[in-house]
């Protein structure tokens, strides 16, 4: 267990360094004058001119050689200082915490809803494998999965926000704003994970140990609780880990569609304004999020599967 956490921590350190360095190098390779971009981000398109750009360059010391700026960033990073945003002047850690909070809220709510949809649908379909519910859920899954995630979002927007005016279209100003983006993301996720749950549960239902449990006289509910759930959960949890990649990808798109103030959104705008410390911070936050979620999946599998514990 400890070894598992240590390994992930090392991985986190490597991700931090490599993502930060890569974003630094990529940003230096992009065309366009950095001081002009930052001045446009700060003062707006009506006020960006040579004078503003030169003031920005002098203030931020942008005419220093790249390696000096890089070494300074690396030194600051070792002291857990991510620097200040070039555009707003606020500490990057403060801004990332604000954005990451929103992203985690969205991703967490989406995963929870996805699980609430996928688990009952999957188990029900498995219990009557080949029946009408199983086939219908396959059809709906395939339809949902075939759509880009923003099409699902647009459909929900049309119905709940524009026709019924029950929910807000975009932005974030309270819990009601969470419903549509989280549901969109959850539907896209549940489309696949409900099928994984179904297959995993069907396999358990067909297994010898499950049949034995039934034969020895346990009711279906008892057999599912004692012998089914844990065995069926393992592949599902592992799959959730794999699905995280697409969740984070989906988060970026959903944040854009619903003007959700999260990390993906912040990253896109930081690229536009050449705000290098913000880009490094946002990319590192997304990278670390990956590592942390993978760690959680590892730990969950570790707890669910007694065989893994005894192997250590």
């Amino acid at each position: 267990m400890l070894q598992l956490i240590l390994r992930r921590l090392l991985q986190a350190a490597f991700v931090t360094w490599s993502v930060g360095t890569l974003s630094f190098v990529l940003m230096r390779l992009l065309p366009g004058d950095m001081e002009f971009r930052i001045a446009a981000g700060r003062y707006g398109y009506d006020h960006v001119d040579l004078a503003a750009a030169e003031a920005v360059r002098a203030e931020l010391g942008l005419d220093r050689p790249g390696w000096q700026i890089y070494l300074q960033w690396l030194g600051d990073l070792l002291r857990f200082n991510l620097g200040d945003s070039l555009v707003s002047g606020l500490p990057v850690s403060h801004e990332i915490a604000h954005l990451l909070g929103h992203t985690l809220l969205l991703a967490g709510a989406a995963m929870l809803i996805a699980l609430l949809i996928a688990a009952p649908v999957g188990v029900w379909a498995a219990l009557r494998a080949g029946g009408w519910f199983d086939r219908l859920s396959l059809l709906v899954s395939a339809l949902l999965r075939a759509q880009p995630v923003f099409v699902i979002g647009l459909g929900l927007l049309l119905v709940f926000a524009l026709e019924w005016r029950m929910l807000p279209v975009a932005g974030f100003d309270g819990p009601r704003y969470l419903i549509l983006p989280a549901l969109t993301l959850a539907l896209a996720m549940a489309a696949v994970s409900s099928r994984v749950v179904r297959h995993s549960a069907a396999e358990v239902l067909r297994s010898a140990y499950f049949n034995f449990a039934r034969v020895k006289g346990l009711s279906l509910r008892q057999a599912l609780q004692r012998h089914g759930a844990r065995n069926a959960a393992l592949p599902v949890v592992v799959f959730l880990g794999i699905q995280l990649a697409s969740v984070i990808e989906g988060v970026v798109m959903i944040e854009s569609l619903f003007s959700w103030p999260g990390v993906g959104h912040g990253l896109a705008h930081a690229v536009f304004n050449r705000d290098v410390p913000m880009i490094q911070g946002a990319a590192m936050a997304l990278g670390l999020l990956f590592v942390a979620l993978n760690l959680l999946v590892d730990l969950a599998c570790h707890l669910i599967d007694p065989r893994q514990r005894s192997a250590h």
Partner: protein, 509 residues
């Protein structure tokens, strides 16, 4: 379950959309804000009526009293004296006095902004409520500069030791309640406001990056006022009964910035031909979907002194344009494109995505110039690539929207655009004219209204005759307002959203 369904139905049938908060006005615009510093995002704080300036501006661009009740000039326009309003308190309860104003203006002077261009020698507190500004030479636009958001007056406690804003404390009818950059700014009514207190208790500004999303927000009843709509959403919005669309001309001109150092654009006849080939009415009706607004000169009619009233309207004249280009040696090739000495007439236009209509207009101009035989390549860049391209010479043609109402006196902007030997970052490029900059400099100290008008008219004539930039359209600001909002009005100088004057209808829909 049945109860939940009934509840749902009841909410849907209720007169008010559940998306509307009865005590909060919700505003959406495209501008992202990142700070509380007036030099950066000050427009948002004057628009939401958190911060106020010494002077105000009416719809005609005339100066009105603001935090200063009276002002006068002496010593040939080199000394300006302002009398401050009494009984004004900042949001942190500190009183407004001359010392606080001096501090605010000195901080503003040290940052990029319109005050940096003013030849100020000193700001002095003469007494508790009297302020003196001494200039090294007369500068007429000072009054308009002191009405600009970058010169908003904040309480001394708003600044830290380095002049950075720690917490913005203004004097307006609303004060900042929640500051969540870059997406949400919440303000709440300020009880001790010196003027008439606001009716609506709270207001919130939410950044909406996509113009389409903003249009949907007002349709869903989620947002009460949406500024800067995209042309494509207008028809959709006009069909909704819970939304009103307001159109207002603002002193902003969409124009083509040209590099006159480029051999293709150096000749006046070529520039005139390109201007004649533009179907401005087609752009206004078909792209912006607002008839009118065809620009025959750079400065719009609302800025009277600088606008030529008798100039004929701009008309498309393709045959004359062809003749002018033929006179320059351009001949149509087999593909319909013009050629000279075997080289095609090919131009590269850059524009930026910050204003939603610019890219659509650029592609329409591309098609219109194609009829003339000019191959125009359009690229969308960051707005900063235009001043950068001006200085490194890579800019050929740029479609820009220039705000002559940035300060209420267009002289400041014209000096920035044409002061440098006729050129400027967002003005002419590669133009060589000494008369126009001299006229502008002379205007700075002109006290006689007739002479000021005559010189301003001469400036307009030179710009029409020499055509260093091609005027295209005067801008119309489109605003969608929810039917529940009463007392909406629009400030053409975009300094103030005037939310303190608004209220909600008793029945929201």
């Amino acid at each position: 379950m049945r109860f939940l369904l009934l509840l749902l139905l009841a909410t849907m049938l209720a007169a008010c959309s559940p998306n509307q908060d009865p005590h909060q006005l919700s505003i959406s615009g495209p501008f992202e804000f990142t700070s509380q510093d007036p030099s950066r995002d000050g427009y948002l704080y004057t628009r939401l009526q958190v911060a106020e300036t010494l002077l105000e501006v009416d719809a005609q661009g005339q100066l009105l009293p603001g935090l200063a009740t009276a002002w006068s000039q002496s010593d040939g326009g080199r000394v300006w004296r302002f009398t401050l309003r009494e009984g004004v308190r900042f949001h942190d309860a500190a009183p407004l006095n001359a010392a606080a104003v001096v501090q605010a203006l000195q901080v503003a002077q040290g940052k990029p902004g319109v005050l940096a261009a003013v030849p100020v020698e000193t700001f002095e507190a003469e007494s508790e409520h009297s302020l003196v500004v001494r200039l090294s030479r007369p500068y007429n636009p000072l009054g308009a500069v002191l009405a600009h958001y970058t010169t908003a007056i904040l309480s001394p406690a708003s600044y830290d030791a380095e002049g950075q804003i720690s917490r913005l404390q203004g004097t307006g009818p609303y004060q900042v309640e929640r500051f969540d950059p870059p997406h949400r700014l919440g303000v709440v009514r300020f009880a001790d406001y010196w003027g008439t207190p606001a009716t609506i208790e709270r207001a919130v500004y939410l950044t909406g990056h996509r113009a389409e999303s903003r249009a949907l927000q007002v349709m869903a009843g989620q947002t009460d006022i949406v500024y800067t709509l995209d042309p494509a959403s207008l028809d959709l919005l006009r069909r909704r009964d819970n939304v009103r669309v307001h159109s207002h001309t603002i002193p902003r001109t969409i124009q083509l910035k040209l590099n006159l150092d480029d051999p293709l654009l150096a000749e006046h006849d070529t520039r005139l031909a390109l201007s004649l080939a533009i179907d401005r009415s087609g752009l206004a009706n078909g792209v912006l979907r607002v008839p009118g607004g065809e620009a025959n000169q750079l400065v719009p009619p609302s800025l009277g002194d600088w606008h030529l009233n008798d100039l004929p309207a701009a008309q498309r004249d393709l045959s004359r344009a062809r003749a002018l280009l033929a006179g320059q040696g351009w001949q149509a090739g087999a593909d319909g494109l013009l050629q000279r000495n075997g080289a095609p007439f090919r131009l590269r236009l850059m524009t930026y995505a910050d204003r939603p209509e610019l890219f659509q207009l650029a592609t329409a101009i591309q098609a219109q110039w194609r009829e003339l035989g000019v191959d125009l390549q359009v690229s969308v860049v960051n707005s900063s690539d235009i001043p950068a391209g001006h200085h490194n010479g890579t800019l050929q043609v740029a479609l820009i929207a220039r705000n002559y109402g940035n300060i209420a006196d267009p002289l400041g902007l014209l000096l920035a655009d044409y002061g440098d030997g006729g050129n400027g970052d967002w003005g002419a490029m590669g133009w060589h004219n000494s008369e126009l900059p001299a006229l502008l400099v002379a205007q700075q100290g002109e006290r006689d209204a007739a002479r000021y008008h005559a010189r301003a008219q001469r400036v307009a004539q030179i710009l029409v005759a020499e055509l260093p930039l091609i005027p295209v359209l005067y801008y119309t600001q489109q605003t969608a307002v929810s039917a529940r909002v009463r007392g909406f009005s629009f400030d053409p100088y975009e300094r103030n959203y005037r939310i303190a004057e608004m209220s909600f209808s008793p029945c929201c829909n």
